[in-house]
Amino acid sequence: MTSNNKTIARAWWWKALAIAMLIYTFIMGFLGTVPAMPIINESIRNLYFHVTMWMGMITLMFINVIYSIKYLRSGKLYDDLVGEESARMAMVFAGAGLVTGMIWANFTWGAPWVNDPQLNGTAATMLIYAAYFILRNAITDEIKRARIGSVYGIFAFVMMFVFIMIIPKMNDSLHPGKGGNPGFNKYDLDSNMRMVFYPAVIGWTLLGVWMMSLRVRLRKIEEKIHNA
């Protein structure tokens, strides 16, 4: 199983796909036609860069929890390494999503930080993963760190899932498509934006996974040097 994953991680085709999708995203994202809207104006282009961060973060968090479970079942440190690095990359994506969202919110909602379930969810996610890394750093023994980190990672993922998926449905939100706001499909009548948005999601997510796999390989090399 592990060797199979490594083969996929080393394959070139999905990295090429990520680059192609991102080049397409940047060209069409900045030059493509977008519907002219009051208030949102051209900032609607942020859809390709802000919402996609969120999708990338969720994907990486899923990888984290899957590999945490895999570690607890198999006891292979490689699985824990993938879990840890995907959590780190999820933090990067959460930060990027937060910054792009704050810039966008400042122009459209009039303030960089509003009491919105999505914002609270991202803040909670970042706090939880910060705690995850604090916990990991507090333990010196490698195997113990992997086991305890995995346990906390699984528990934290479920709590966070409850927080970001269920709570927003029960509160009002400023985000499109929630709390009685029209969704983005209302804005995008000719589906021009969809043709950029979906490739952008795929491109950014693959980029996140690629960065994560590079970090994993780097860590393995460091380990080899350290042990030599």
Partner: protein, 220 residues
């Protein structure tokens, strides 16, 4: 059935040990009383029901963290080894969780009584509020017990319980504040029952997760 009797025996043992050395319980009570009194000195009076409710749950959060953080720390290595060799880990975590639920519910009841006296209580539906108190204590205790278990295997630093536990408690605290907030406003049961159901669901998820994950912490 066997698990049930083991859990019951452990809870009784825990209660006996706690009663033998009342210092821990007394210090908990003093801690919450002092928190309430500090709030009184700084707020004087709380007119807004939302603030009243939020302040109460913040006091409960800190009291609960303080109470539960030590639940694995006070045991000697020898006793832990004895448990480890004699009992399944599920019995250990369930007994700790249920004992802490009992402890926190009682502590919460006392806190609620004193808090309502010191700050005039705006609660219109006391039964609903007390149900919320018990449900909130279940959620707080089960989450913090697992976190205390995690920390006991990490480096036994009690401050780590707060760092690890608080972000995990966000969903629970939001739901519990909404539920008890509705009780304060005196909403009917029909409006509030969906929040109650959500709380029960969340508590169930937390306890099941603790049950499943704790054995991985326990083996050394």
């Amino acid at each position: 059935m066997k698990l049930g009797t083991q859990v019951l025996t452990l809870i009784k043992l825990e209660a006996k040990l706690e009663w033998k050395n009342r210092q821990a319980i007394t210090s908990l009570l003093v801690y919450s009383l002092a928190s309430i009194y500090i709030s009184y000195l700084s707020f004087r009076q709380v007119l807004d029901p939302v603030t009243w409710n939020a302040l109460f749950w913040i006091i409960m959060l800190f009291a609960g963290t303080n109470a539960i953080a030590k639940s694995f720390l006070q045991e000697s290595k020898g006793l832990q080894f004895f448990y480890y060799s004699m009992l399944p880990p599920q019995a250990v975590i369930l007994s700790k969780i249920f004992y802490n639920i009992l402890l926190l519910s009682i502590l919460g009841g006392i806190n609620f009584f004193i808090y309502s006296m010191i700050f005039q209580s705006p609660v219109q539906n006391n039964e609903q509020y007390l149900i919320g108190l018990v449900l909130g204590s279940i959620g707080l205790s089960s989450t913090l017990t697992l976190v205390a278990g995690i920390v006991s295997k990490a480096n036994n630093n009690a401050a780590l319980v707060a760092i690890l536990g608080f972000p995990l408690l966000f969903p629970l605290l939001l739901i519990i504040m909404r539920f008890t907030g509705n009780a304060v406003s005196g909403y009917s049961w029909a409006i509030n029952q969906s929040w109650c159901g959500l709380l029960l669901l969340l508590n169930g998820i937390i306890i099941i997760l603790s049950y499943l994950l704790f054995p991985y912490l326990w083996k050394e």
